[in-house]
């Protein structure tokens, strides 16, 4: 196995173009497990750890995205996201905080989560919920491609990267409302999601974002649930009034989230449990975010 260690991003892109089958390695928390379990024998490893810009983030305004955006380097570890960006990216920070253990959170990255594109990756529901204009910055020697998050996940552990492309960063709009993330595991730490749910309120454009993890071949959003609850909030003037959503609508939201999933039975849990748990998480997280929103309305008033 060859071990490629580019010192710069351009060298990395050149190496990837030359060795399209080379496997990028960032935090290595997925890659090394695959190698150790002998599930994967790549011809070459492309080590991205010398490229310091991948572990940096910046905030600013970018074309095609409204408002302030965080451009998160692919290799920024979860621990730093939770520490440094919990105000700007609260959903992702919460999701990152559920990943593995402190050691894994010190190494694992959103770029790696996207690279693996596992349906159980915890960043995905948070990214989906954060809005349709979350963009994955994919780059190759041929140039940059901004892949909308909705088009990124294409199959079980498959993403829409081309063989010569690397993820440079993810552009995520700064939260304009409360966000939450919940995940089910059969122990209280260091557990792969049985299922997970992310939600983000977007009062600016009156939408609600969702993301479902581990309950379908790919991470996916619960489109009908989003539209239903956005409709409720708009029609009943709740964004302005901050009044209670009410149990019926919350219940319906949970049902629609469940309906959007297509889980299977496996060693981690049954499909029936996943459906049940998604509904519970959807109801609870909607309640939490709405409570937070109404509080912010009141304190602003």
């Amino acid at each position: 196995m060859e071990f490629l260690r580019p010192a710069t991003w351009d060298e990395a892109l050149a190496a990837k173009a030359e060795h399209p089958s080379a496997l990028p390695i960032s935090g290595g928390t997925d890659v090394m497990v695959e190698l150790n379990f002998d599930r994967h024998r790549p011809s070459a490893l492309l080590d991205l750890n010398r490229i310091s810009e991948l572990t940096a983030w910046e905030s600013g305004r970018f074309e095609g995205q409204e408002g302030e955006v965080i451009r998160l380097g692919a290799a920024v570890p979860y621990a730093r996201i939770t520490r440094e960006l919990s105000r700007e990216l609260p959903g992702l920070a919460l999701a990152g905080n559920t990943v593995g253990s402190p050691q894994i959170r010190n190494r694992g990255s959103v770029g790696g989560n996207l690279g693996g594109a596992s349906p159980a990756g915890d960043a995905h529901p948070a990214l989906l919920a954060a809005g349709r204009d979350v963009l994955v910055e994919a780059e190759s020697v041929r140039g940059t491609r901004l892949i909308p998050i909705d088009e990124f996940y294409v199959g079980v552990k498959r993403n829409s990267l081309e063989p010569d492309e690397l993820i440079r960063a993810v552009r995520i709009p700064v939260a304009d409302g409360p966000q939450q993330f919940s995940k089910i595991g059969t122990r209280n730490a260091m557990v792969i999601a049985v299922c997970a749910f992310g939600i983000a309120l977007h009062p600016k454009n009156g939408t609600v974002g969702t993301g479902i993890g581990s309950a379908a071949p790919t991470p996916r959003r619960a489109v009908e649930a989003e539209e239903f609850i956005a409709g409720e909030l708009a029609e009943r003037g709740l964004w302005e009034s901050g009044a209670l959503i009410g149990p019926a609508a919350i219940q319906r939201f949970g049902e629609l989230v469940t309906a959007a999933a297509s889980p299977i039975d496996d060693v981690r849990g049954t499909a029936a449990y996943r459906r049940h748990a998604l509904a519970v998480m959807a109801r609870r997280t909607l309640t939490w975010t709405w409570n937070e929103y109404t509080q912010s309305l009141r304190s602003a008033a």
Partner: protein, 785 residues
């Protein structure tokens, strides 16, 4: 001889050494392990060393039509490829029944069975060579359920009758009945006012030790083999290895390598024979280290069990009878199944006086993974069932569950269903009283929530919603030492000599230190008995006699007892020397603070002066009192060496909507006879309790049609620190006069009752029956198996 008797000296000589028995000196391996500097068996290295690896079956039940190794042999870097036909000596081995082929022949009986082994210059070379071995299988229907196992006419035999090596017949490895009083007849049933029936299931738990199976076999010039190995019992390994190699036992020498946990999983052989065979064949040192995945196939697990209990009691809560059937899935090979059955049958009524008993325990052969020893050994499964029965009975009678247990608890002088009298303290009622008397943890404070404190923890599933608290109690009974007539003696050699002007004791045993703290205790015993400061521990090897297994909660009792005997013998010889030299006629001599001390006359002489250049080097064997096998039909017999008891109170918070559990506190009370090392004792109790907690809420090897579905720590979950609650421990010390220092084995009892206590607490929180462990979120939410 001049005696110096200053104030200071007097104090020195009359005070027992703080690191003697009853003290808590730190263990020598502790800091090394925490810092990652401890040398485990997997860290060994030898010049010219080869790497060994095994080819394992992807099927659970299949005929082997052919094995073609041609391409593997030709692979560059490969030094040997061996199959069944290359085994020089006897082809089968086993702990109790020699029914397991060292390499598969003819038939595959479980998923992961080894078929061929390879030695190569690099692990990657070995892996590639394995991939070139061509095995042709003819798949056979698997025999995996109780119904299939018990109907061999229809479903076939795991071991054909012609090749059957077990004690029983059909697909039954072993069975044991226990009948006492009038047994359970219609007349007996009529004596009960209340009858509770229950069916229980215990899933397959794994020892989940962190150091994978590993070791190194080094060929010696005399044609023998030196094996450096992480194991639980050097001598029984040797007994099984030597015949397969076609060598006399004295040509197979074993030395203990650094062990990363055991819990019963190293009682059977794993890579030992394979490494030795390859070393013998190649003439080179051969190292084998299992990967984590291979480790799940490389050792036996705890027997999954189905238990059927019927318990009758009077209106005022007195137990009248119990009828029970325990079916243990032994898997493909016998391993320790017969002894596990003996324990399940003889301890399966719990620490209760029950006048009429009818018990049957059986272990089956199946195409599931082999099961054998694991901490608690046959007593764990039964404890889950009989404690659930007690809770149901308490509910039916509207009696407090702790009171009901106390009302029926055994005590010293009680007769077990096997007819054996409990002839040492059995403070079951007192342990329950103590654990109940401990203050309860505070209620969940929902106004200042730290999500780490509630079910789901950082997964952020609840901010207080759906959470219900429950409290549950349980108590268990476990035996210490090997039972049923087995003489599992221990040997110890103690040498006393002067080094650098100071008396130094050296303790040499073959005891496997697997993390239990045995070497620390040996040092403490030597300090106490010989009054020395410095003790060195000789590496454990087969140059000294057997120390028996590091299992059955027996090592401090047995090998600790042997060290005590050997040290006493050394002391006697030293004092005899003194009497001879100085003409002492004191009969109140002891060794304290490096001196010979008379209780009446004070310090007489420094040990170093008395001993001079000579050394006293003595070896002693320690045998426990004899036991007898249980009668096959009635289970009667003085079968156990010692009993041990632990009680638990579990407090849990359950998110009843999501089915997630957080154990808030797991309190224990245990009688240890005498705490030789109080810190270690508490460590053992907390560790055992945690392992039982794991079985209660998460630990299970999932097997479907004989295939292991979760051979990794990604999906075989064990408790993390956030799953492990505070564990207050109340240690009682009521001496057992039959045991050295009055001590009682500690390691296993806490593993029994923690599981049913946690489940009882979950039942209280949810109102659900929960007849199966581990309890999964599905069971708590009605969403599937």
């Amino acid at each position: 001889m001049s005696q110096i008797r200053t104030e200071k000296n007097l104090q020195n000589i009359t005070t027992a050494h703080p690191d003697g028995i009853g003290g808590s000196p730190l263990r020598p391996d502790g800091i090394l392990k925490v810092k990652g500097e401890f040398a485990y068996s997997s860290d060994m290295w030898h010049e010219d060393m080869l790497w060994g690896m095994a080819l394992r079956s992807p099927h659970a039940h299949a005929k082997i039509l052919s094995v073609d190794i041609t391409e593997a042999v030709k692979h560059p870097g490969v030094q040997a490829v061996m199959t069944y036909d290359d085994i020089p000596g006897s082809k089968f081995y086993g702990l109790e029944i020699k029914d397991q082929p060292a390499l598969a022949t003819g038939k595959i009986r479980y998923h992961g069975e080894a078929i061929a082994i390879v030695a190569a210059d690099h692990p990657e070379t070995a892996r590639r060579a394995l991939a070139k071995i061509k095995v042709e299988y003819e798949l056979l229907p698997t025999i995996t359920t109780e119904e299939q196992c018990l109907d061999p006419e229809t479903h076939g035999y795991v071991h054909e009758p012609s090749e059957y090596k077990g004690h029983a017949s059909g697909n039954i490895v072993h069975s044991q009945k226990v009948i006492s009083g009038l047994g359970v007849t219609d007349e007996v049933r009529a004596l009960a006012d209340v009858v509770i029936k229950g069916d229980y299931v215990v899933g397959m738990q794994d020892q989940a030790f962190l150091g994978p199976e590993s070791g190194m076999a080094v060929p010696a010039e005399d044609g023998g083999i030196d094996l450096y190995i992480a194991t639980q019992w050097l001598h029984v390994d040797r007994e099984q290895i030597a015949p397969v190699l076609g060598l006399p036992e004295n040509k197979v020498r074993l030395t203990l390598a650094g062990v990363g946990g055991a819990f019963g999983g190293r009682e059977d052989l794993s890579m030992q024979i394979h490494a030795c065979l390859l070393a013998q064949r190649t003439g080179k040192p051969v190292k084998i280290v299992y990967s984590r995945e291979e480790s799940f196939f490389g050792h036996v697990h705890r027997h999954p069990a189905k238990l059927t209990y019927e318990t009758g009691a009077t209106r005022d809560g007195k137990l009248v009878y119990c009828d029970a059937r325990i079916v243990l899935d032994g898997g493909a090979y016998a391993s320790a199944s017969p002894a596990v059955v003996g324990n399940a049958a003889s301890l399966g009524m719990g620490p209760y006086e029950i006048p009429n008993v009818n018990m049957l325990a059986v272990a089956l052969y199946s195409n599931n993974p082999s099961c054998g020893a694991m901490r608690g050994f046959g007593a764990v499964q039964a404890c889950f069932a009989y404690e659930a029965q007690m809770d149901k009975l308490a509910a039916a009678l509207d009696i407090d569950p702790v009171e009901l247990r106390q009302l029926n608890a055994v005590e010293q002088g009680s007769i077990m269903p096997t007819g054996q009298e409990i002839d040492s303290p059995a403070p079951v009622a007192e342990l329950l009283r103590r654990v109940k008397a401990l203050p309860l943890p505070p209620a969940l404070d929902t106004t200042h929530l730290d999500v780490r404190d509630i079910p789901g923890a950082l997964s952020n599933t609840s901010h207080g919603e759906g959470i219900v608290r429950g409290v549950g109690y349980a108590v268990g009974i476990k035996n210490v030492g090997f039972s049923e007539g087995f003489d599992d003696y221990s040997t110890a050699r103690v040498r006393l000599e002067v080094i650098g002007g100071e008396p130094v004791a050296m303790v040499h045993t073959a005891m496997a230190e697997v993390g239990q703290g045995g070497v620390t205790v040996h040092g403490q015993i030597a300090r106490t008995e010989l009054g020395v400061e410095r003790v060195t521990i000789h590496p454990a090897n087969t140059e000294v006699g057997s120390a028996g297994s590091t299992s059955a909660s027996r090592q401090t009792y047995m090998t600790g007892g042997a060290v005590k005997l050997a040290a006493e013998a050394v002391r006697n010889e030293l004092l005899a020397l003194g009497r001879k030299r100085y003409g002492w006629d004191y009969n109140d001599l002891s060794l304290v603070g490096g001196k010979v001390v008379s209780a009446s006359a004070g310090a007489l002489v420094p040990i170093a002066d008395l001993l001079g250049d000579s050394a006293i080097d003595l070896t002693r064997e320690h045998h426990h009192r004899p036991t007898v096998p249980f009668d096959k039909e009635t289970g009667q017999g003085f079968g156990h060496v010692q009993y041990t008891f632990c009680a638990h109170r579990a407090v849990v918070d359950v998110d009843v909507e999501l089915g997630l559990v957080k154990v808030v506190e797991l309190a224990a009370a245990q009688d240890v006879g005498k705490a030789l090392n109080p810190l270690s004792v508490v460590g053992q109790i907390q560790g055992g309790s945690t392992q039982g907690l794991g079985l209660a809420v998460m630990e299970e090897i999932v097997v479907k049609d004989g295939k292991v579905r979760n051979p990794s720590f990604t999906d075989y979950l064990i408790p993390t620190i956030l799953d492990t609650p505070p564990q207050p421990v109340d240690v009682l010390e009521l001496a057992d006069e039959h045991a050295p220092y009055g001590l009682r084995g500690v390691g296993e009892a806490p593993t029994l009752s923690s599981t049913p206590a946690v489940v009882a607490a979950i039942r209280q929180a949810t109102g659900l029956a929960l007849n199966r462990v581990p309890v999964r979120p599905e069971h708590l939410t009605g969403t599937g198996e």
